[in-house]
């Protein structure tokens, strides 16, 4: 922890960590210093000049965003002179900005609008200039309108910091403009349409493409939620109006490197109101799926479940509360222990259970083992972005993989080769650098040689204070050995949002069982969610409980409409070991119900009243077993094509939203 120093702001004294800048320090004292170019968590750039403050004994006004606190500093933010200067800056900015707040989409949340309102200006003292730059409207995600741009550089900096690096300035002075390379449209510039730039822009210069006339911000209701579309489980804020989603923004804490969502998380919501939705129960009659009532549907299901032995298949995107009800119903009502999960395709029990809780925001050294995250390929996109951001803020990265890894381009050290062997060499190097290991582990590493590179990795580990290792689950056991030598957090990265929750709830990821259900034959197969199964498995009766008409649902005997995550509430355990909550942002569409409601009704039809199941996830999280020396090996049978898995488990979302356009566009430019 940094030392704390005392600083007095407008007469109020607060203690803040050394190195804090004056904007952050002031906000701790409850004082807001107006700013346009500052991004919390990033170094101030002093460009807009709005945050000028006076320091007693100082020579003149200084920018708060670039000034660090010193012990005993006395700061004034609200003198007559400062108010005048701020007014001058706002006045100048207004002279280059349209004053069309009456029709502007951003009204209400535009930072410039707020400052202008607060600064006693009615009209700019200068006649307004116009550039006549055309907007970039050539994609369905993001509209960029340079006419509104106030050149604060926030979009440029967030895009750079996360490594996508699409935007930059062209020209200078009043003619400066935010552009892509060669001023091409976004979709020809390597843009991933993550929309981080939307969240960063303080004005109407970068906005969701479809926002115009979809309501002003003050008409929206905001709900904090979590995206469940991949293993990233990113925080989101969902804005709704009239029970429709109007937009989704990244919801991570301000200034956190994890404040990121990818294009799928931001724009995939189109699917909620699309014709891909299943809005009422459907049963197969004469070879065709026909609408039916919940009553009939559950009656039918109950009959089938009584007659035949049930096998249950669930994805790793189900919420904890749904899982615990499912477990209860399976045990007490359906009476089956055949429960398989898609988690077994990429992870084992140990890796999901014993992974640590980690905070990437404070890591100073990150190791990536057997993983190839990529924002462009949409494989662990938020992990890729978070790591790159963390590197931009001074952390170091070591990548260890048998394959070429995209993020290796920014790694301090890249080790290419079979991972278990390399991990072993690193362990040995650590021990040879004087880090302590027990005898057993020392013996395990006895038969290996170190290399110059693994020695360098060991040096980095030795220097580092907060180490986080992200590993593919298959290598978790090997990697965990390192934590016996030095304290570090180890996270096995799954491909679905609640994989850890599934396992912590007590479901064993049993690959053999899953295979039996998909490739063997079953009497009744009851599927929850959208597993990557394209064809109907050999089963006497197929039930699919899903929000969308997936390929599998199309071949089912009974389809039960469950709610999308946006219409659901509950919790998950993210890959970093955090329990995250989702609140219901929409009333369920049609007759869709959340999994656990459906299960409760089913139990009732089958003559049992069940209370909501409860698994104490927090307690389960704490029950991690202690690491013990294990052989350096890679667990077999957990390899999947991650990009394909992401596509398949989200095929309904992608195919019935504007993401389809993105796929086509990428094909066109040959990504």
């Amino acid at each position: 922890m940094a030392k704390k120093v005392g600083v007095t702001i407008n007469g109020k004294t607060v203690k803040v960590p050394e190195g804090t800048n004056l904007i952050d320090a002031a906000s701790q004292a409850g004082v807001e210093i107006p700013n346009l170019c500052y991004i919390k968590g990033m170094r101030g750039i002093g460009a807009c000049r709005l945050c000028l403050v006076e320091i007693e004994g100082g020579r003149g006004p200084v920018t708060a965003c670039t000034t660090k606190v010193k012990d005993g500093m006395v700061v004034n933010t609200d003198t007559e002179q400062l108010r005048e200067m701020r007014q001058f800056v706002i006045d100048l900015i207004l002279s280059m900005h349209p004053l069309d707040c009456m029709t502007c989409t951003k009204a209400g949340v535009c930072t410039l609008q707020r400052y202008a309102y607060e600064s006693e200006i009615k009209e700019s003292s200068f006649s307004r200039k116009k550039f006549g730059y055309p907007p970039d409207e050539s994609n369905p995600f993001i509209k960029r309108d340079p006419e509104y741009c106030i050149l604060c550089a926030r979009c440029v900096r967030v895009c750079k910091e996360q490594g996508t690096n699409v935007l930059d300035f062209m020209g200078r002075g009043v003619g400066a403009k935010v552009v892509t390379a060669n001023d091409k449209p976004l979709h020809e510039s390597g843009c991933t349409f993550c929309g981080s730039c939307i969240d960063a822009c303080p004005v109407n210069a970068i906005l969701e493409a479809d926002r115009w006339r979809k309501g002003r911000e003050w008409d929206y209701e905001r709900t904090h939620s979590v995206c469940l579309l991949c293993g990233g489980a990113c925080d989101t804020v969902i804005s709704t109006k009239d029970n429709l989603i109007m937009k989704i923004n990244a919801g991570g804490e301000d200034g956190s490197v994890q404040r990121y969502i990818c294009a799928i998380g931001r724009f995939g919501y189109d699917a909620v109101a699309s014709d891909k939705r299943v809005l009422s129960p459907l049963r197969r009659v004469n070879g065709e799926l026909k609408e039916t009532t919940w009553e009939e549907a559950l009656q039918l299901l109950s009959e089938r479940l009584t007659k035949g032995k049930a096998s249950i298949l669930l994805t790793g995107a189900l919420m904890n509360e749904d899982i615990s009800t499912l477990l209860k119903v399976a045990e007490d009502v359906i009476k089956t222990d055949r429960i398989a999960t898609t988690v077994s395709l990429y992870a084992d029990e140990e890796s999901m259970k014993d992974s640590d809780t980690a905070d990437i925001d404070s890591a100073d050294l990150i190791l990536l083992v057997g993983l190839n995250p990529s924002q462009w390929k949409r494989v662990h996109p938020s992990l890729d972005a978070s790591i790159r951001r963390r590197l931009s803020r001074g952390a170091r990265l070591v990548s260890i993989s048998s394959e070429a890894v995209d993020i290796g381009e920014v790694a301090d050290i890249t080790l290419r080769g079979e991972e278990p062997g390399l991990i072993k060499q690193i362990a040995k190097s650590m021990i040879s650098k004087g880090m302590k290991a027990n005898k057993e582990l020392s013996e395990l590493t006895g038969d290996t040689d170190t290399t110059e590179e693994t020695e360098r990795v060991a040096d980095l580990i030795k220097e580092a204070e907060r180490i986080v290792i992200f590993t593919s689950p298959a290598l978790f056991r090997s990697v965990r050995n390192l934590s016996l030598i030095k304290k570090m957090d180890i996270i096995a990265v799954p491909n679905e949002a609640n994989a850890r929750g599934v396992v912590l709830s007590g479901i064993k990821p049993d690959g053999k069982l899953l295979k039996e259900m998909i490739e063997g034959s079953t009497e009744v197969l009851y599927v929850f969610g959208e597993p990557p199964v394209e064809r109907r498995p050999d089963t006497g009766f197929l039930v699919v409980q899903s929000p969308y008409m997936s390929n599998l649902a199309r071949e089912a005997d009974l389809v039960l409409p469950s709610t999308t995550p946006y219409e659901s509430s509950g919790s998950i355990v993210s890959f970093t070991g955090r329990v995250k909550r989702l609140s219901r942002a929409l009333r369920p569409y049609g007759e869709a119900k959340q999994h656990r409601e459906i299960l409760a009704s089913l139990a009732k039809v089958m003559g049992k009243v069940i209370k909501e199941g409860k698994t104490d996830i927090k307690k389960a999280l704490k029950g991690r077993s202690k690491p013990s020396p294990s052989p350096f090996e890679k667990k077999e049978g957990l390899e999947i094509d991650e990009a394909r898995f992401m596509e398949e488990t989200n095929s309904c979302v992608i195919n019935s939203s504007r993401l389809l356009w993105l796929r086509e566009a990428e094909k066109a430019v040959g990504v």
């Binding site: 709005l50 006004p61 200078r172 002075g173």
Partner: protein
């Protein structure tokens, strides 16, 4: 005074290494190598040399900061961007005496333990590029550059990097960004380049003329050097005189020579027997002085007392026929064009100042415009990100201080040169 910086430049082959050696060149490299690096820095401190790039920062002090930083490698950059309008003092060194600069850089690099050097050269000096490239090649051939220089355990590699034609890239941090291949924009200070500069390593940026002084300091010693010119900021100084004088050009004179002497004794006085009206003493970002003030001495200490600055010692002389509104408009056009666009007050402020000045010059000025000009320049002063904005505001403030009546006349429609 014996010429130091412009020594031998009448010789048509002065840029050739053999001619330079014949005149005693590169002798100070061996002398310096016999000294300890810290002793050289001590001599530079003693000499009282202040940076010739415009700000007049004490060179020895800057070097002291740089070697105090434990990080390596260190980089030495020669600022040859020479972008300030009216400035052409570095040019004769670059084109006629390149080996003096190279010698200065070798010695400086040795003192600073820098193994790599760059000359950041303005794009508009293509001839200097050729000459420097040739001179550097010759210096490599004679082993003044490269590995094991003169058989000693010293290495120094030097390259010329051409700028892309932006005034702001003369500012040292923007220069570094540009050198790194980025769009040149000033960086935050602190950290200063001496600690975090090119590729985040300690970097010493010095002006051409500053570095060209180093061999002489090594030759005669800091003590003797400090007795040249004004003892408060000593040394030989290049003054480049342009405008309405009989003999425009670059003059090497002791620091602290008066404007009067520069204009009348060396530059041959005002052309066509006209009266002197005003002088911009140090490039367009320094405030103008009226004819009545030309007895002040041209150095870093005396000029601020007269309400201006030495800047790049680009003396722009204007006779009685000149319209100050027009001059100011032209200057502001320059600043508007060259503002990098990073910070609001400079980017938008220079734009609006230019627009208001333009309308006054065209005869469309309105009452209250002078007030507005004053307010804007007041609001910009000290609040922009880098000194470029201050320069623009300061130039205008100087103009209004001494020549406000001309602006009033223009607005009132009483000016002789209305519409001019």
């Amino acid at each position: 005074m014996e010429r130091v910086l412009l020594k031998n430049i009448e010789n048509p082959n002065s840029a050739e290494i053999d001619e330079y050696l014949k005149a005693g060149g590169y002798r100070n490299v061996s002398k310096a190598f016999d000294m300890r690096p810290e002793d050289i820095i001590e001599e530079v401190k003693k000499s009282g040399l202040r940076g010739r790039g415009g700000a007049g920062f004490p060179t020895g002090m800057k070097w002291g900061f740089a070697i105090a930083d434990p990080k390596f490698p260190k980089y030495l950059i020669c600022n040859a961007d020479e972008g300030e309008p009216g400035t052409f003092k570095d040019r004769p060194i670059l084109e006629r005496n390149p080996h003096l600069l190279i010698e200065g850089m070798i010695i400086s690099a040795y003192a600073l333990k820098a193994e790599y050097g760059y000359i950041y050269l303005r794009a508009e000096y293509p001839k200097a590029k050729e000459i420097l490239d040739r001179a550097i090649r010759q210096a490599y051939e004679r082993n003044y550059l490269g590995e094991n220089i003169l058989g000693r355990d010293v290495r120094f590699h030097l390259t010329v990097h051409q700028g892309a034609g932006a005034y702001i890239c003369g500012e040292e941090t923007a220069l570094i960004d540009s050198l790194e291949g980025k769009r040149g924009q000033p960086r935050n200070k602190p950290p200063f380049p001496v600690n975090v500069g090119a590729w985040r390593m300690p970097t010493i940026v010095n002006n051409v003329e500053t570095l060209a002084n180093i061999p002489y300091i090594v030759e005669i010693g800091g003590e003797a050097y400090s007795k040249i010119g004004n003892p408060e900021c000593p040394g030989p100084k290049l003054y480049c005189v342009s405008g309405h004088v009989n003999r425009p050009g670059v003059y090497e004179l002791p620091m602290g020579t008066t404007l009067r002497e520069i204009i009348y004794t060396h530059a041959g006085g005002i052309r066509n027997d006209k009266e002197l009206k005003a002088v911009i003493p140090g490039g367009v970002s320094t405030p103008v002085l009226p004819a009545s003030m030309i007895d002040c001495r041209m150095d870093f200490v005396s000029m601020p007392k007269a309400g201006s600055m030495l800047g790049s010692a680009a003396v722009i002389v204007m006779d009685e026929t000149v319209c100050m509104v027009k001059v100011m408009h032209r200057i502001m056009k320059f600043f508007e064009h060259e503002s990098c666009g990073k910070c609001t007050p400079c980017r938008e402020g220079t734009g609006w100042l230019r627009r208001i000045l333009e309308s006054i010059e065209k005869g469309n000025g309105r009452p209250g415009d002078i007030e507005l000009l004053r307010d804007i320049s007041e609001d910009m002063m000290g609040k922009t990100f880098c000194p470029l904005g201050d320069g623009a505001a300061g130039a205008l403030r100087g103009m209004l201080k001494h020549f406000e009546y001309e602006f009033e006349e223009h607005i009132a429609g009483r000016s002789r040169c209305k519409g001019g």
